[in-house]
Amino acid sequence: MTHWQFVALSYALLVVLLVMDLLPPFLALKRHKRQLQARLVRERAQARKAKLDSESESEFENGASS
């Protein structure tokens, strides 16, 4: 191997190790955020639906009493 080949191999291995270091936490962050945001959206939708249900129930009761 020539000197430049040793240099090139060193830099190539550095890139591989950096990607191995950076990629898993980056993907994990994306996954966790997506999961949590999906849960948050689901919970909000459920809360909104529950609120609407209670509102329509009270409207129905008001209508029935009048």
């Binding site: 000197h3 040793f6 190790l17 980056f26 959206v41 909104r48």
Partner: protein, 238 residues
């Protein structure tokens, strides 16, 4: 976090251009000396990260600060990566310079021990089901293992080693300025990379550990798209 990554990238690009293109060839080592632009910053980072872990570990054990525990466990994989880079690039530098990839020299062996210590910290943390207990155990190992750092640093003085002594100290440098400035840029870039990677890992760990807490949900709610976060008028639904 992103800022430190971008700054590290810019500094690395400038440093590599200076080291690989502008710096002259070394009259003894030839072109292989250019490996030092990754080997030396990685070696310094491998030791400084372990010291950082020991300091954070001490703070975590004494004051029970949760973020310090997280920093200990998040810094370990980054330190292991830097140590692996140090060992691999050192081997690739050693072959054309010394005629061998590996020798059981005090500096090389103590650096290999450092890699095992990093792996030990990671394995110890992973072996606990209680994450906080695992982080405290990892902190204890970081505190014990930090004794290896001065051994690595002074190994070239204490023993007759194949590895040369320091070329650069805080007050003096034996390198020519044309070779030195890219190395200094690479030092700064490696520190910024560590900072960015540490914050990224800490963020992942915090979200994982604290996902049920209100502040995480609040922080994520801010990041939600406005179309989702905006309350829909009840008339539009009905």
């Amino acid at each position: 976090m992103r800022g430190s990554f971008w700054l590290a990238l810019v500094l690395t690009a400038i440093g590599l251009y200076g080291g690989l293109v502008l710096a002259p060839m070394d009259y003894l080592q030839g072109e292989t000396f250019r490996i030092i632009y990754i080997h030396v910053p990685a070696a310094v980072s491998s030791m400084s990260i372990f010291v950082f872990m020991a300091v954070q570990g001490a703070a975590a054990l004494i004051w029970r600060i949760k973020i310090c525990e997280i920093f200990v466990v998040c810094a370990a994989p980054i330190g292991a990566m830097f140590t692996a880079v140090t060992l691999v690039t050192g081997m690739l530098w050693g072959k054309p310079t010394w005629g061998t990839y590996w020798i059981w020299d005090a500096r090389l062996t103590s650096e290999l021990v450092l890699l095992f210590l990093y792996l030990g910290v990671i394995a110890l943390y992973q072996s606990y089901s209680d994450l906080r207990a695992g982080a405290r155990a990892a902190s204890v190992l970081a505190l014990i293992g930090v004794i290896n750092v001065p051994i690595i640093h002074y190994s070239v003085h204490w023993w007759s080693t194949l590895h040369q002594g320091e070329t650069i100290t805080l007050t003096d440098s034996k390198m020519h300025a044309s070779m030195l400035w890219p190395l200094l840029l690479m030092f700064v870039a490696s520190k910024l990379y560590f900072l960015g990677s540490l914050l990224l890992r800490a963020r992942v760990t915090l979200i994982k550990q604290e996902s049920g807490k209100a502040w995480v949900r609040q922080a994520l709610a801010i990041e939600l798209p406005t179309a989702v976060i905006k309350p829909t008028p009840s008339s539009a639904i009905t």
